[in-house]
């Protein structure tokens, strides 16, 4: 058993946050000087093989964040609601999979939610300064007072996590309980999990703990058991232990090789710089042309010719039609 995080001290000094503004590693649409000293990276480890699908984590998440999910419909499956919502930051996704090797029916239950990527696509896509921040301990957090509700984070995210609220038009997702972690607590979901399928600690501790779990799974026939800490996004601060780590997509479409979409990279990278340069060039070319060539003014003869044409008194005749350029003077 992983040693549980002790209950908080009631002393007033224990309520002082251990990280904040000074620990911001990245800030959306802004340049920040990274803090000189990085906090110890934290991580949540979700051991899918130990999950019993009780949804205590889902309930704890709603409770801690003071959210209420709408009463929905029974679609004949265990998933409830059917997808992440602006209120449901974490969701149990149930997959029934028949293992072709053993012919066993496996019930794969994955707790979906923000993965807190080391290279967060949401933050990269966000146009609003400071609406998304990444703390040096790895937590990616949305700052709602700066969010404009454009939904670019949804397009940036490789995991399809953020949701825009129809109430306040800002984006919501798992905060990794940054408020709890700041005072030395683990996330609410971790606290509520009855089987320790969710554990929380430093990233190194979690990797070490996962190693033991994977060894155990392998000894029991899950030879492809492994840790999901995808390198395409620089690793994540929410990791999974999967029985079938060679096929993450079995787990309700968990991406096999998540990365920030190259389309998003192109849009936020080359398009931005080339676009601004091209527009600047067009404006500068116009300015230069005006300076060099001068304005194109109507000459007095033009007015005279027009008057002659209107009076019918001998304006120059039209040039021959095009296609006979040699005829034109």
């Amino acid at each position: 058993m992983f040693p549980p995080i002790p209950n908080p001290s009631l002393a007033p000094e224990a309520a002082k946050p251990t990280f904040g503004e000074k620990d911001i590693l990245r800030r959306s649409a802004s340049e920040v000087t990274p803090p000189a000293q990085r906090l110890t990276e934290v991580a949540k480890l979700i051991d899918v093989s130990k999950c019993i699908g009780c949804k205590a984590c889902q309930a704890a998440c709603l409770e801690w964040n003071n959210l209420t999910e709408e009463i929905g419909f029974n679609h004949g499956v265990y998933d409830n609601p059917m997808d992440l919502t602006p209120n449901t930051f974490t969701l149990m996704r149930f997959t029934e999979w028949e293992n072709p090797e053993t012919e066993n029916l496996e019930w794969l239950i994955r707790k979906d939610g923000c993965m807190h990527c080391e290279d967060p696509g949401c933050l990269k896509a966000c146009p609003s300064p400071g609406a998304i921040v990444q703390y040096s301990n790895g937590i990616v957090d949305f700052q709602h007072e700066n969010c404009i509700g454009c939904g670019y984070c949804i397009k940036g995210c490789p995991f399809n996590i953020p949701r825009i609220s129809k109430v306040d038009h800002t984006a919501y997702k798992c905060t990794l309980c940054s408020d709890r972690v700041a005072v030395g607590q683990g996330p609410a979901c971790q606290k509520a999990c009855p089987t320790q399928a969710i554990v929380f600690g430093t990233k190194d501790e979690m990797k070490g703990w996962a190693e033991g779990r994977i060894k155990d799974l392998k000894s029991r026939g899950y030879e492809n058991a492994g840790l999901y800490d995808p390198p395409g996004v620089g690793g994540t601060h929410v990791m999974y232990v999967l029985q079938h780590a060679d096929q993450p997509s079995l787990y309700a479409g968990l991406p096999d090789n998540p990365r920030i979409s190259p389309i998003v990279e192109t849009w936020k990278g080359v398009t931005k710089y080339v676009g601004l340069a091209v527009m600047g060039f067009a404006a500068a070319a116009g300015f230069l042309h005006y300076v060099v060539a001068g304005p194109n003014k109507v000459a007095p003869e033009d007015e005279e010719n027009a008057e002659k044409l209107v009076d019918g008194t001998g304006a120059p005749p039209p040039a021959p039609p095009a296609g006979q350029p040699e005829g034109r003077v």
């Binding site: 949804i154 389309i263 998003v264 067009a282 116009g286 109507v298 033009d302 027009a306 008057e307």
Partner: protein
């Protein structure tokens, strides 16, 4: 030489590039009606929409210009209002398109005009062919605006999450954003060309403010159109030219 005789107009079909309301008013100088009140209002609604769209769009395009959201009451307002201005632009431009498309159809002299466009920029206007109401450059602006506005409204709807989120997938939305950004850069460049041409060619802006240009302006830049108007005075505006 075509006779300049108002009575001949019955025999001459109205050329494509002569638009309703176009007419010559003799005088010193000659004045030429180029745009009706309706066309001008239509143009300026489109123009104001395009400028507001460019400002709000660029605010969301690059963090360096995010401060432009201040013009629209902040980021939330900018995000909410931008697509609606886009709808206004689309409708307004659609009406403008119906007004102007016929006069912007390709003509034989366009090829020659394009071949001599370097002469135009160098100030050798006398080498240019006589053109109708619009030269090939203006036609290019018209058709580029038309095409780009279709692309922008199409991609814009795909990324208008507030109402159309469920209609498309996230990968489709990613493409839409990229296409929208590239098309926006293109349309801003077309707009720069359009505005620069109006500033560079003196006497042009009056066409879209008072609706008139001088005869000399028409002689210099759109001689074929002027000849057509002289040949066929506008029967609607007033009586025969005599």
């Amino acid at each position: 030489m075509v006779a300049i005789d108002p009575h001949a107009r019955a025999a001459v079909p109205v050329p494509d590039d002569v638009e309703p309301g176009d007419a010559v008013r003799p005088g010193h100088p000659v004045q030429v009606k180029r745009y009706t009140v309706g066309a001008r209002i239509n143009h300026w609604i489109t123009a104001i929409s395009l400028v507001l769209l460019a400002l709000s769009g660029m605010a969301l395009f690059t963090p360096k210009l995010f401060f432009l959201t201040g013009l629209f009451g902040g980021g939330q307002w900018t995000r909410a209002i931008h697509p609606w201005i886009g709808v206004v632009l689309f409708v307004s431009f659609a009406i403008l398109f119906i007004r102007f498309w016929r006069a912007n159809l390709p003509a034989r002299e366009d090829v020659d005009w394009v071949a001599h466009s370097a002469d135009l920029l160098a100030g050798r206007e006398e080498k240019m062919p006589e053109v109708g109401k619009y030269n090939a450059g203006q036609k290019g602006v018209f058709w580029a605006m038309s095409g780009l506005i279709i692309v922008l409204i199409g991609s814009g709807i795909v990324m208008w999450d507030q109402y159309f989120y469920d209609l498309t997938t996230i990968p489709q939305k990613r493409w839409a954003i990229l296409v929208h950004a590239v098309a926006a850069v293109c349309i801003i460049c077309v707009w720069i060309i359009h505005v620069y041409a109006a500033i560079w060619v003196k006497g042009t802006i009056g066409a879209m403010t008072r609706g008139e240009v001088t005869g000399g302006w028409a002689w210099r830049h759109h001689r074929k159109w002027l000849r057509e108007l002289v040949r066929k005075p506008d029967p609607g505006a007033r009586g025969p030219a005599e």
